[in-house]
């Protein structure tokens, strides 16, 4: 069924448009004037001003991997982060921990773990999904590089950014 959109009845002043055009121009010039005389607050000028000091605790920066207080890589290559990652920037190649290692009980570790920071959207889902508390979004926000390769964070780089995190996961400690 046809529906007729009701059109407003315009007065002749509205019909010639010019008054509203002038009104519009007045609004924009007002903004321009305020900017010129510094009456408008503008955004933070990034490289000179930084907000490191007032960054909130829940800030989500670059995802990193952490080791526990015994030096064990917390990641066991369960690949849940790889699964949940919306832009699919995580790639894990799982491997088996050799029997002679002191962490042999854990059995599995990531042979390769890389996060493609050109794709990462800093959503934090990897941190949320991790059952081993192994991946955390730290406060590094200035992830830059001059090549794509430099933004491909491999395992070494991820541990370098992440460091050590104590507590929380005790299930891999040897049984009495």
């Amino acid at each position: 069924m046809a529906y007729v959109v009701p059109r407003p009845n315009l007065t002749w002043k509205e019909k010639i448009y010019l008054p509203s055009i002038v009104a519009g121009l007045a609004i924009t010039i007002k903004h321009l004037k305020r900017m010129l005389f510094g009456q408008t607050k503008v955004v933070m000028q990034y490289p000179e001003e930084k907000w490191d000091s007032h960054m909130p605790d829940h800030y989500r920066g670059a995802p990193t991997l952490v080791k526990d207080e015994h030096g064990r890589e917390r990641c066991v290559a369960c690949q849940l982060c790889e699964f949940i990652c919306p832009p699919r920037c995580i790639a894990i190649k799982p491997g088996e921990i050799p029997a002679e290692s002191r962490f042999a009980k854990v059995e599995k570790y990531p042979e390769e773990f890389s996060i493609d920071m050109t794709r990462c959207i800093y959503c934090g889902m990897c941190e949320e999904v991790c059952p081993e508390q192994a991946i955390f979004l730290r406060k590094d926000y200035s992830i830059t590089g001059t090549t794509r390769g430099a933004l491909m964070h491999d395992k070494a780089r991820l541990y370098e950014l992440g460091g050590v995190f104590t507590g929380l996961v005790h299930k891999w400690n040897p049984k009495k």
Binding site: I21, G24, L25, I27, T28, I29, H31, L32, R34, M35, L36, T40, V42, V43
Partner: protein, 385 residues
């Protein structure tokens, strides 16, 4: 060719000097800084800052720090130019190569050529400050600027892709429609000044006062007051048509980003795209200059003598004439700059017309108003003779 060699050598030299001066030292820098102004003004209107920190990326050359000389963003046009020159000049495989290459030239060249007839100053060292002071200056400008539409049409057609094609078609109908209104709205000026030479029109305004501001000659007659009514109408219709002719918002349908990606220059990149870009801004400058010449007295400022130390206040004649020549040129470009600012201001205020609205405005209103305006002017002229 014979005719060319029979010309006196000094005419060739001075014309060349004026051309080079005008194009490379005035127009091209003006174009790039218009682009810069566009970006800054739009930013300020939208409560942003715009490009304000261009420096030299010395770190690319191995230095520790970039050099930022504190010019704000004034280096931005240079950076833009370098970027355009260094970008990959990509020609898609499906285009018609000849016209694809020809189109950007056709967009840029007419816009520059029209500037030849503009008297941008009075005299400098006895030389008239116009490249070609032809007595059909206004017709010349209309004729050449219409050629600019070919660039856009060819770009749209040769790109062999739907959005450029639609952009090209829109551009054709738009320019043809508005050319009419523009030409007709300039007729009252010709009726009053009695000449189509832009120099003559300027001279008339120096003598009798600017057409839009008739009291600049020091007095107001009844005739001037009566003529002011059709002249304001002519000014409004002419300016609106000029917006449409230069494809500026609110009439930028040929390239409307939200509908046509980028319209006729969708498939263009690098310097070829830059030529369209420059062409648009050159046309904008030419249009502003034309408005200045037709309605705002050209290079003239009340009380200031011209470059041959004529007119103006008597005691100013003591200062060397060439200084007044330069002042005249400056006044002209200052007027143009104000108009350019209005162009930009309007762009960042008004939304785009719908195509049917655009056609309706051109054919049903501007055209009629301009036509009636001619008879009105003629009537007033006859009545006040």
């Amino acid at each position: 060719m014979d005719f060319f060699f029979q010309l006196p050598w000094w005419l060739i030299v001075t014309s060349l000097a004026k051309t080079i001066f005008l194009i490379f030292l005035v127009v091209l820098p003006m174009v790039s800084y218009t682009v810069y102004a566009e970006r800054r003004v739009s930013a300020l209107i939208q409560d942003r800052l715009g490009p304000n920190r261009t420096g030299f990326p010395l770190t690319l050359l191995g230095f520790k720090k970039d050099f930022s000389p504190g010019l704000g963003g004034l280096g931005q046009p240079i950076a833009d130019a370098v970027k355009f020159l260094l970008k990959e000049d990509f020609v898609p495989g499906h285009v018609n190569k000849l016209y694809f290459w020809l189109a950007p030239c056709l967009a840029m060249m007419p816009a520059i050529v029209t500037l030849a007839a503009i008297p941008f100053g009075s005299y400098l060292f006895g030389e008239k400050m116009v490249v070609a002071d032809i007595n059909v200056g206004l017709l010349f400008m209309f004729a050449i600027s219409s050629v600019g539409v070919y660039g856009i049409v060819l770009a749209g057609w040769s790109s062999n892709s739907k959005y450029p094609f639609l952009g090209g078609i829109r551009s054709t109908s738009q320019m043809i429609s508005y050319e009419l209104a523009m030409g007709l709205s300039a007729v009252p000026v010709l009726l009053i000044c009695g000449s189509t030479g832009l120099g003559a029109i300027t001279d008339y305004q120096v003598r009798e006062g600017w057409l839009l501001v008739p009291f600049t000659d020091g007095g107001l007659s009844l005739r001037e007051v009566l003529l002011w009514i059709p002249l304001v109408l002519a000014f409004i219709t002419f300016s609106i048509s000029m917006f449409a002719e230069t494809n500026r918002l609110p009439f930028d349908l040929p390239e409307s980003e939200t509908e046509l990606v980028a319209g006729y220059h969708t498939e263009y990149s690098s310097m070829k795209f830059a030529l369209f870009f420059l062409g648009e801004y050159t046309a904008m400058i030419a249009g502003s200059a034309l408005i200045v010449v037709l309605f705002l007295g050209g290079w003239h400022l009340p009380l200031i003598p011209n470059g041959a130390n004529q007119g103006g206040l008597e005691f100013l004649h003591a200062i060397p004439a060439w200084i007044w020549g330069i002042v005249n040129i400056t006044v002209f470009f200052a007027k143009v700059a104000v108009l350019l600012f209005i162009f930009i201001w309007v762009r960042w205020t008004l939304p785009r017309f719908r195509f049917d609205q655009l056609m309706k405005l051109g054919w049903l209103y501007l055209f009629e108003i301009a036509l009636v305006n001619i008879f009105l002017t003629a009537g007033i002229l006859a009545f006040t003779k």
